[in-house]
């Protein structure tokens, strides 16, 4: 296995479990089965390792969200599909999402990097919303507001469910959640 990946994987596991501040380089090295110095052959600083982890996690999330998106389908269908993908990913990849929560609060990751990592999905989503608005089936509000509201709702539910599974009804179906999103956004 590639050592670089091994280090990223080890850091991901440790940070997801113990948080950023409780994941010293020495521990990452131990979990990656290498010496502490080795990490610095692959990453300039701990910060840059963390930054790379963040970009990687966002890439996985956004590409999962867009998986199977078919531009020949109607906007409503496509949006529902993307939202279902989003919730599925958030819900099924617990470790990646816990990690993302930790990294999202990390001040050393710049706004530029965050924005850049979202460019892809934004371009798809915004075009879809524009089309929906042109068709008169979606509220005439700024794309950022619509997209953020739906994502925020889904992500917060996924997070709560992860933290306190007993509080949520055990069965939350995708249809249920995509319906919440769609009803919120439709004209």
């Amino acid at each position: 296995m590639d050592k670089r990946e091994q280090i990223l994987e080890a850091a991901a596991n440790l940070i997801a479990e113990h948080g950023l501040q409780s994941s010293p380089v020495s521990q990452v090295a131990k979990q990656a089965c290498c010496g502490a110095g080795t990490i610095y052959r692959y990453f300039e600083t701990k910060e840059s390792l963390i930054e790379e982890l963040f970009v990687l996690m966002l890439q996985r999330l956004t590409s999962a969200c867009l998986e199977g998106d078919d531009s020949s389908h109607a906007p409503e269908q496509r949006l529902r599909h993307i939202w279902a993908n989003t919730y599925n990913y958030l819900h099924e990849n617990e470790r990646d999402c816990v990690l993302l929560d930790h990294l999202a609060a990390c001040p050393s990751i710049s706004e530029e990097i965050r924005a850049e990592a979202l460019e892809n999905i934004h371009s798809v989503l915004f075009a879809l919303l524009d089309q929906g608005k042109a068709d008169g089936i979606i509220k005439d509000l700024p794309n950022e507001v619509l997209a953020t509201f739906a994502y925020g709702g889904l992500a917060t539910i996924a997070k709560k469910r992860r933290i306190a599974p007993h509080m949520m009804g055990i069965h939350i179906s995708n249809e249920m959640l995509t319906q919440l999103c769609w009803d919120a956004l439709r004209a």
Copy 2:
């Protein structure tokens, strides 16, 4: 001014600006105009100071959300009022919200404390949702799902607006956002 409050206030400002890891006790002391030792006269450890800050911030948020709630009004009106309060608070108290974001990701704050701090608002909100469901005007889904979806949407928009004001249309009205919430939840 009470020294204890002064310390809490100083910690709040520093952590909101620089993050948890870059807010040493020595700096908190300096901003609170006292010695580092004095902080330990009022708080057992830095962790307990942070925990208290978290509870304080959540208290402010939840009581702001419920301000002016009138149980004689109809459920829809009450929910819209609470959502408007929520977004207003999130949007107008930038420092408190940045702080909450930082503390939300802090592993040393236990789940019990987090849940306890939300008890109040949950009891009001859930009763309201139950009534709405009984009246047939709200979707028949678990209260946690409904409440979390609406809050998550509002909070995520407030956060995005805080971080990247240029991306959001400058004017986002309360009516616009309460309508998103209401449309999502209504039957």
